[in-house]
């Protein structure tokens, strides 16, 4: 797969430069780091940071702004940033009320974030961490990966922080969302790392991979490619399994990179039909490329059980380069 780039080793650096070229009116990059943060730092509020490997754009820089993240760290492609980078993000996001780290459940991300927490505590910055593990493709919850549902956690914790809640409260809301949220993906084609010329795995022309990770990690099974309606059924079944059958839901349909919106909305219709069949109340659906895997083709479904509290936080005002929400006062 050909890439629009100059040098695979500089791709993240050049991305960040481009990102600030385009969004420099509201966002800035902390000197000497890969941390993107808001220019207009809020005086006293809990800071929310996230981050991880690059290759998932718009995650995570695309979610920095009022109502969502205060800072995002970009690692190398598919590689967790180092602890020093997470620390810089914590420092940028702290305004004295503490900082919440929203971390996806990968060994690297968790370890680097933990080291950064230890360094921050040594500086007297209060931190808490929540670990997103929404991917039900993995059986053992301790090993479950964090995937697209993470973006909903950004939104919920970001809105809670913006509303002036304390670090403990914001953390608790984030954990509540994580508990009530499940995701699962399928891949129709593999992604190719900028540093490599070959795809990260290979699928035959009639094959798909069920339960793929956002780094192309192996899924649950490889099987003959299914129609959108069948995929919707499969993913709905798996994600609903551990959730409240009679609940109200928000669904996030996430394109993995090269799946056209044309197809994503077809899938959205199929998911809606699946939920309707199960008499589940669908409050809101999000469709688009929220957390990609470079140029992988495929889609993930996230279901989140919502109550009025979570719903209000999801609808609250936000202004980032990817997710804007007029809020209730509009």
């Amino acid at each position: 797969m050909k890439k629009l780039m100059n040098d695979s080793e500089q791709i993240v650096e050049e991305f960040l430069q481009g990102f600030i070229t385009v969004h420099g009116d509201s966002l800035t990059r902390i000197n000497g780091t890969n941390v993107i943060t808001r220019i207009d730092k809020v005086a006293t509020k809990v800071g929310i940071i996230s981050g991880g490997g690059s290759g998932h754009e718009p995650a995570h820089a695309g979610y920095v702004g009022p109502g969502m993240l205060d800072a995002a760290v970009a690692g190398e492609v598919f590689t967790s940033p180092g602890a020093d980078q997470f620390l810089a993000a914590i420092q940028a996001a702290d305004s004295g009320s503490g900082v919440l780290l929203v971390i996806k459940n990968y060994n690297g991300d968790v370890m680097n974030a933990e080291m950064a927490q230890e360094m921050a505590e040594a500086e007297g910055i209060q931190t808490e961490m929540i670990i997103v593990n929404d991917d039900v493709a993995v059986d053992d919850p301790a090993k479950r990966r964090g995937i697209a549902g993470t973006v909903l956690v950004h939104k919920i914790t970001g809105a809670a922080a913006e509303a002036g809640k304390s670090l403990a409260e914001v953390k608790q809301l984030g954990e509540k969302a994580i508990q009530k949220m499940r995701s699962m993906s399928v891949a129709l084609s593999a992604c190719t790392l900028p540093s490599s010329s070959k795809p990260s795995f290979s699928l035959a022309t009639d094959e798909m991979e069920v339960g793929i990770g956002i780094h192309g990690e192996q899924g649950m099974e490889r099987r003959e490619v299914m129609r959108s309606a069948e995929i919707a059924q499969l993913l709905t079944e798996h994600t609903l399994e551990e959730l409240d059958e009679n609940g109200s839901y928000v669904a996030l349909i996430n394109g993995m990179g090269s799946t056209p919106l044309l197809e994503q909305y077809v899938f959205a219709k199929d998911v809606q039909e699946q939920l309707e069949k199960r008499k589940v109340t669908l409050k809101k659906m999000y469709v688009g490329d929220y957390m990609t895997s470079l140029d992988m083709a495929g889609v993930s479904l996230t279901l989140l059980t919502v109550d009025d509290e979570l719903l209000q936080l999801l609808h609250a005002r936000a202004k980032t380069t990817t997710w804007t929400e007029a809020g209730n006062d509009d």
Binding site: E76, T79, P81, N107, G108, S195, G213, H215, E217, Q218
Partner: protein
């Protein structure tokens, strides 16, 4: 160990990693996400480039800077783990260079940081095996090299329980752990550098 030997160790390690970068990434593609070669190469390249700037520093300070560089530049899972290993070596060598103590402390640090145990098919298996061997048999660098290689090779038969390989469950059996392979390079390089020094002393 002198700081010169430490510098040599880093350069030899970088050479091995550079030569086997693609292979490390290929191994990581089998059980993980395919970036381990790139990650390690980025980290050790940065170290080797920095070495001249650290020329006057003590052994402990140099080890600490190596650790910080690994944490900062390698990233991923291997960065904080190897970084922790070298930070522990640094602390341990502050007063006295005792390899038994140093490697034990490093292994413990890695296990704690990774919430890992020996036998889970990770780089810890290599660090821990080397540490035990030095504790039991003293500084026999040939033995260190053998023990490291054996531990590395054994990860092929083990089911991965930590890191991305753990997602594969039993399917991880039959694959070498990429982190174990790169840590083996580290100890092969160490043994070679230290053996060379021993040989020089003997002549």
């Amino acid at each position: 160990m002198t700081t010169e030997q430490l510098h040599e160790w880093m350069k030899e390690t970088y050479q091995l990693i550079q030569d086997n970068k693609e292979e490390l990434s290929a191994l990581d593609q089998e059980v993980g996400d395919g970036d381990h070669g790139t990650n390690m190469n980025r980290g050790f390249q940065a170290i080797v480039e920095e070495l001249p700037n650290w020329a006057g520093e003590s052994l402990a300070t140099t080890l600490q800077k190596i650790g910080m560089t690994l944490i900062s530049k390698v990233g991923g899972a291997s960065g904080p783990l190897l970084g922790t290993g070298f930070m522990r070596l640094s602390t341990s060598f502050k007063n006295e260079v005792n390899w038994g103590d140093g490697l034990e402390s490093a292994s413990e640090g890695i296990a704690k940081r990774g919430k890992a145990e020996v036998g889970e098919a990770t780089l810890l298996d290599v660090w821990s095996a080397v540490s035990k061997s030095v504790r039991e048999h003293g500084l026999d660098w040939n033995r260190v090299a053998d023990v490291s290689r054996d531990a590395m090779e054994r990860t092929k038969e083990l089911e991965a329980k930590r890191g991305r390989g753990a997602l594969l469950g039993e399917r991880s059996i039959g694959h070498l752990d990429p982190g174990a392979v790169s840590s083996d390079y580290l100890f092969q390089a160490l043994a070679r550098v230290m053996k060379g020094a021993d040989d020089e002393c003997r002549t």
